[in-house]
């Protein structure tokens, strides 16, 4: 087979996936950038708006709040996910009897729809009959109106989101942990390392690549969090939990202001590209090597 013919076959095999990516992602993406620079509403002629939409959202205090909420949400959410995900992975790095069953149970949130997790947590957090307030009551704490007070709503959302995404960190960190050669740990123990030293100087450096991947992954995914927030708080009370994705949704799908909505999308896109670029570089290095 000639080299040309071989390349042609290879390209033909890649055609379907490229068509999908081009038509479903790339063209709408470019169209989003175009829309963000236009006055675009249903039923009205499309006119060029330049950077007006960007000026509009940057001047909107609600967008500023959404931006700050997003950063708060991502920083707190990702930190909590990483700490708890790594903690659970560390716990499981001791082999337990029935290990597979326990892992299956803690991975269960991954198999559930954000919509259903959201609705169930909404029941659990209910201020009148919810089990969480009852547990607090037993501990002597007054009932909390979770979704009517800004800080409590934010805390509840963080708790739910962290809970849902601990398994995502676990499946990245756990394999890295169990692939650490036991001799290394033994050697450190012989040298008199206590548990904290062992973790800090031996284990942590070895799982750093996995943690880095988890950090980037979780940041990208938390940036686009939508389902849980919509079901749980809809961005409320009074926009206290409104992150950029909810702001975008409201602009585009509730107020039909497609131009400004697209501009928010472009802002989210830029933030994502900045955060994801080290990972894309790393993946492409792997791709070129293998």
């Amino acid at each position: 087979m000639t080299l040309h013919k071989r390349s042609a076959i290879g390209l033909a095999l890649l055609l379907p996936i490229f068509l999908l990516i081009i038509f479903v992602v790339l063209i709408p993406e470019i169209w989003a950038i175009v829309m963000s620079m236009a006055n675009y509403r249903p039923g009205a002629p499309i006119t060029y708006a330049g950077l007006e939409n960007y000026q509009k959202i940057l001047g909107d205090p609600n967008f500023k709040d959404a931006f700050i909420n997003t950063i708060r949400f991502v920083i707190f959410g990702v930190s909590l996910q990483l700490v708890f995900g790594t903690g659970v992975a560390l716990l499981f790095s001791r082999q337990f009897w029935g290990q597979k069953l326990w892992i299956a149970l803690i991975l269960a949130p991954m198999a559930m729809s954000p919509a259903i997790l959201g609705t169930t947590w909404k029941y659990l957090f209910n201020s009148e009959f919810g089990p969480i307030n009852f547990t607090l009551y037993q501990m002597g704490i007054e009932p909390i109106y979770w979704f009517t007070q800004a800080n409590y709503a934010f805390a509840a959302l963080l708790l739910v989101y962290t809970w849902n995404h601990i398994p995502g960190v676990f499946i990245l960190v756990y394999p890295a942990l169990i692939s650490i050669p036991p001799e290394l740990v033994e050697a450190a123990k012989i040298d008199g390392a206590n548990k904290l030293n062992l973790f800090w100087y031996v284990i942590l450096p070895l799982i750093r690549p996995a943690l880095l991947i988890a950090l980037i992954f979780r940041t990208i995914i938390s940036l686009r969090a939508f389902g849980e927030i919509l079901v749980l708080t809809k961005g409320g009370p009074f926009r206290a939990t409104e992150v950029m994705s909810i702001y975008l949704y409201k602009e585009g799908f509730v107020y039909f202001s497609w131009g400004t909505s697209a501009a928010v999308g472009v802002v989210i896109l830029i933030v994502t590209i900045v955060i994801a670029s080290p990972q894309i570089r790393m993946l492409s290095r792997q791709m070129m090597e293998s």
């Binding site: 076959i9 095999l13 890649l14 996936i17 490229f18 999908l20 990516i21 479903v24 992602v25 993406e29 989003a32 829309m35 675009y40 716990l91 337990f96 149970l105 269960a108 949130p109 198999a111 559930m112 729809s113 954000p114 919509a115 259903i116 959201g118 609705t119 169930t120 909404k122 659990l124 009959f129 919810g130 009852f134 601990i166 499946i171 990245l172 890295a176 692939s179 690549p209 996995a210 991947i213 990208i220 940036l223 686009r224 939508f226 389902g227 919509l230 079901v231 994705s245 949704y249 497609w258 909505s261 697209a262 999308g265 989210i268 896109l269 994502t272 993946l283 492409s284 792997q286 791709m287």
Partner: protein, 282 residues
């Protein structure tokens, strides 16, 4: 091992076991809540103090769900259609691409893989805004096809990478021997690569299936009555203004997530291996 030794082993491990139990119980809170509440008499769901076990096990919630919310059957059917075709389409698009990325070493293929990964990083919500008017224009809003194409596209990159890693592990000598014997490329693919890739095809199909079955955002934005999927309908049931029928909600949730949980447990091992085969090396 003497019994003394065993006793000391148990007491030494006890704190870890307690910790493990706390983590496991904490992880299954929503699942347990949904399942146990779905078997409670509706009145008991609002009991204060809440009950951990149904005082009286009843199936009435499930019966009433299908009476009160007849759309639920249609939503389940929509979910099943979208899930099935997303699986089929993803596998048929990704396997040839993965084969190319694994076996064709020309730089153009490596570069196109990177382009794919980079484009895939785009957040789904960003394309939703422009897609909404486009889909309305071409009459594809609220259709199964739209969801199938969206789900396939947004899973295609990761699935291709997982498949590529797997095909990398199939010795190329088998193929070379087949070529020496006069096999065509199509024969090599269909008689060697396809059968040998079965484990990864099954695992990735279930990954896609579980994603499509549970997806909420696209379903919520792009469907209304015709193609509405089960998660979207359940979320709507909780947003009801006339009072939430929690008995129905929990019954619907259980019907929706039990198949998905079984899916996950079937692929658990491959999932951990597949997700990390590329990730932990760097």
């Amino acid at each position: 091992m003497t019994s003394n030794n065993m006793l000391s082993k148990i007491t030494r491990n006890l704190p870890y076991w307690i910790l493990l139990m706390i983590v496991v119980l904490w992880s299954i809170i929503p699942i347990y809540t949904a399942i146990s509440s779905s078997f409670k008499i509706p009145r008991e769901i609002f009991n204060y103090p809440p009950t951990y076990f149904p005082a009286e096990v009843t199936f009435s919630n499930f019966a009433r769900l299908f009476e009160d919310v007849p759309e639920f059957v249609i939503a389940l059917r929509n979910s099943a259609i979208v899930t099935f075709f997303s699986m089929v389409l993803t596998i048929s698009v990704c396997l040839p691409a993965a084969y190319t990325f694994s076996r064709f070493k020309a730089p153009v293929f490596r570069r196109s893989a990177i382009v794919l990964i980079a484009i895939r990083m785009f957040p789904p919500l960003v394309i939703s805004v422009p897609l909404f008017p486009i889909l309305n224009e071409i009459g594809l809003s609220d259709s199964h096809l739209t969801l199938i194409l969206l789900y396939t596209t947004f899973q295609s990159t990761i699935i291709t990478l997982i498949m590529k890693a797997y095909i990398d592990g199939i010795p190329i000598e088998i193929e070379e021997a087949a070529y020496v014997d006069g096999a065509t490329m199509y024969q090599v693919f269909s008689r060697i690569i396809l059968p040998l890739s079965r484990p990864v095809i099954v695992a990735t199909a279930i990954m896609v299936g579980s994603y499509a079955w549970n997806e909420f955002q696209f379903g919520f934005l792009f469907t209304s009555t015709n193609a509405r999927t089960a998660p979207v309908l359940i979320a709507e049931m909780v947003g009801s203004l006339t009072g939430v029928q929690w008995g129905n909600v929990f019954a619907a949730s259980v019907v929706q997530f039990v198949p998905a949980l079984i899916f996950l447990w079937v692929i658990q091992n491959q999932l951990i291996r597949g997700m990390t085969s590329g990730a932990t090396k760097g």
